[in-house]
């Protein structure tokens, strides 16, 4: 893996060996609420004693971080000082919120230093759901939509280009939709699973390596943007890819792991150098003294900042499916899809299924929200009895809106309303877009015309597709 920050050799690359999710043994009370939300039973330990994480099983979804309420109390100072703990956790020293036992490796401190370097061309992308949750960190109501303030804040943090993962979601639909059509036509490697949730991918690699050919070969939208930042956008801006610092703001702790995967590089350059969470972005904004609430709305930069409504809804469970059907329907039938809002796909149950008539084909689809629900589907696929063509899997309970890096709630009683408001906000944002289908996004059309050629073409394969690896315990030990 190539290090792209010459001044700090080795530090910018997020190593795979960092388990990313940690439990601070000084703070853990052994209540095991984290274990009760872990979808893969990766948290072990006796009740009443500090817990441990089995890094092999852990899918780094961060749900334990969201659930943990064991904090460092003022009245019982922990062994290490607060400043030392913040440093160990990779957080900027100005963070004032309480420290909890379960936490993820932070990259705010590292990013703060990198942003001060004038020699680097600093590029950032934001996941669809950051704009519906970031404002909560500044005391605004659940689901407040702030794409413009977010872009403005990122510019004030010293980023040279503010791009959008939503654009990558649109590219994903072009590639994944074409891949699905090809597989359905040939009848090969069905069902096809989505591959944009890194926690799901890690889980599949760990527990079902024999089924990996059923995953779409598409990289996630984040990695697609990363690849395009160091090729297409570098070309447009006339910047040497080696000088680019590629940063992603994600609702997800596992994105830190994904960015560090060895195969996620293009021509020797790591596609995404640093990933920070929604919470870490808020901490950096506060650290710089930016008055987020009163910021003006600013646009994203071109070319990787123009997105469709289909790209936006990736953040909610069923969103990838809905976006894919909007485009897949039109690519297959060459007719306009009669209804853009596919309500039958929306919802919050663990498994939802639907059948969609596309021309002569009855496309059978399933949406899985929460990894604990996927095992029955995997069994069906292994037995050859799975009836679906296309299956979306999101590791978190309601998709990325409930990701492990999202704002952490103080009261469990508000969780449901928070997720619902974030989701409604995403759908509202989609409904207000002029362009709501990925293949009609003018910036996507231009990308394929000027740079990629066609979906699944040579350039696409080189930049946007990948292979997955077995992580079965047997192979890891050898």
């Amino acid at each position: 893996m190539t290090n792209l920050i010459p001044e700090k050799k080795g530090s910018s690359v997020m190593p795979n060996i960092d388990p990313i999710i940690h439990i601070d043994k000084q703070l853990c009370t052994g209540c095991r609420r984290c274990a009760s939300v872990c979808p893969v039973d990766a948290i072990t330990g006796e009740a009443g004693t500090p817990q441990s994480i089995d890094a092999h099983r852990c899918v780094i979804c961060g749900q334990c971080i969201q659930a943990c309420t064991a904090y460092a109390a003022e009245s019982e100072p922990s062994l290490a000082s607060r400043a030392e703990k913040l440093r160990q956790r990779g957080q900027v020293s100005s963070v004032r919120e309480p420290l909890f036992a379960a936490y993820s490796t932070g990259h705010g401190l590292e990013l703060k230093e990198a942003l001060a370097d004038p020699k680097r061309h600093k590029v950032v992308q934001c996941a669809p759901v950051i704009r519906v949750s970031l404002a909560e960190e500044f005391g605004l109501p659940f689901g407040t939509l702030t794409p413009g303030k977010m872009a403005a804040a990122l510019r004030r943090l010293n980023f040279d280009r503010v791009y959008d993962t939503n654009f990558g979601a649109d590219v994903t639909i072009m590639e994944e939709g074409s891949e699905l059509i090809g597989r359905v036509m040939s009848g090969e490697r069905l069902p096809m699973f989505t591959s944009c949730c890194p926690a799901w991918v890690k889980h599949a690699e760990t527990t079902a390596p024999q089924l990996l050919e059923h995953l779409s070969s598409c990289k996630s939208p984040m990695q697609m943007i990363g690849a395009l930042v160091k090729t297409y956008s570098a070309e447009v801006d006339g910047v040497d890819p080696a000088d680019i610092l590629s940063v992603a703001v994600m609702p997800c702790t596992c994105k830190k792991f994904e960015a560090g995967r060895e195969e996620m590089n293009v021509d020797g350059h790591q596609e995404v150098d640093l990933v920070i969470t929604t919470r870490e972005l808020a901490q950096l904004i506060k650290d710089k003294g930016i008055d987020f609430i009163n910021l003006p709305d600013e646009p994203f930069d071109s070319p990787l900042g123009k997105y469709s409504g289909a790209g936006t809804i990736f953040g909610a469970t069923g969103g990838v499916m809905e976006a894919a059907i909007r485009t897949g329907y039109e690519l297959m039938t060459h007719e306009s899809i009669p209804n853009l809002q596919l309500d039958f796909i929306r919802g919050d149950e663990g498994i939802r299924t639907a059948a969609v008539q596309i021309g002569d084909l009855e496309l059978k689809v399933a949406m899985v929200a929460g990894l604990k629900y996927v095992s029955s589907i995997l069994e069906q696929v292994a037995e050859g009895t799975c009836p679906y063509h296309f299956i979306e899997v999101m590791a978190c309970p309601e998709g990325c809106v409930s990701g492990g890096g999202q704002p952490k709630l103080l009261l469990e009683t508000q969780r449901k309303s928070a997720y619902q408001a974030r989701k409604s906000s995403i759908y509202r944002h989609d409904a207000n877009q002029k362009v709501r289908k990925s293949h009609e996004n003018p910036a996507i059309i231009k990308l394929y015309k000027d740079f990629l050629g066609e979906p699944l073409g040579h350039a696409s394969h080189h930049l946007l597709h990948t292979k997955f690896i077995s992580r079965s315990a047997k192979e890891e030990l050898s």
Partner: protein, 223 residues
């Protein structure tokens, strides 16, 4: 004739408590909306100062908080009459409190704590009293007594108790902690994942010879 009703209080069952401290966090959250604390942890700019504390031993954990004593010893020793009985609860007037610690010493349960006072998320300094700090005289931070007030002075305490109530909050789509599902439970009781906490509202005479301190007496009290 006015019917006498003993003060309500919250008590925990040690057998159920898992020591997660969700009650402490909820207590702090609902009491500090004036300090900028909203729904997200990221809005906190001050130490977490709850009004109940989870105590632990090798064999059990349970939160301890004010029992709202009928003849409150804390009120008896307060030299400035900052502790009062109001509508079935023993409350501290934090503006009046001088931080003398008499109440903390008098409390048989250790339910009173003294901590810095905060306003708008910042420490409140005293107008006159100063102390030597960093080689110069600086105004000393105000210290006051904190204890459980049964969430009485909170417009509503995010006291959502049932799935239905949570849904009714969702309609409002608000991140504000003032949202209420219509319940009146203290925040600690409503968030406990193990239902280890109970709000007890006894009726005079029904506890007979047993004291309220006996957890077993919960069965004989009309809830």
């Amino acid at each position: 004739m006015k019917r006498e009703r003993p003060n309500s209080f919250v008590i925990a069952e040690a057998g159920k408590c898992i020591g997660c401290k969700a009650c402490e966090l909820a207590c702090f959250a609902v009491h500090n909306q004036d300090n900028g604390v909203a729904a997200s942890v990221g809005t906190i700019t001050m130490p977490v100062l709850p009004r109940l504390y989870v105590i632990r031993s090798d064999s059990f954990a349970m939160p301890v908080q004010c029992r709202h004593c009928e003849n409150a010893p804390c009120a008896g020793v307060c030299p400035v009459q900052a502790i009062r009985q109001e509508e079935g609860a023993i409350l501290i007037d934090e503006d009046r409190c001088i931080g003398c610690k008499a109440c903390a010493m008098a409390c048989p349960f250790g339910a009173v704590s003294l901590y810095k006072s905060y306003g708008n998320g910042q420490e409140i300094e005293q107008p006159y009293l100063k102390e030597q700090q960093n080689g110069r005289l600086e105004r000393k931070t105000r210290i006051i007594a904190y204890k459980c007030d049964l969430c009485r002075n909170i417009a509503s305490a995010a006291n959502t108790v049932s799935e239905e109530t949570v849904t009714s909050v969702a309609v409002d789509q608000s991140g504000r902690l003032t949202e209420n599902g219509g319940g009146s439970l203290p925040a600690c009781v409503s968030v406990c994942p193990e239902q280890a906490l109970t709000l007890v509202s006894p009726i005079l005479g029904e506890s007979r010879s047993r004291t309220a301190a006996d957890v077993g007496s919960l069965r004989s009290l009309r809830l």
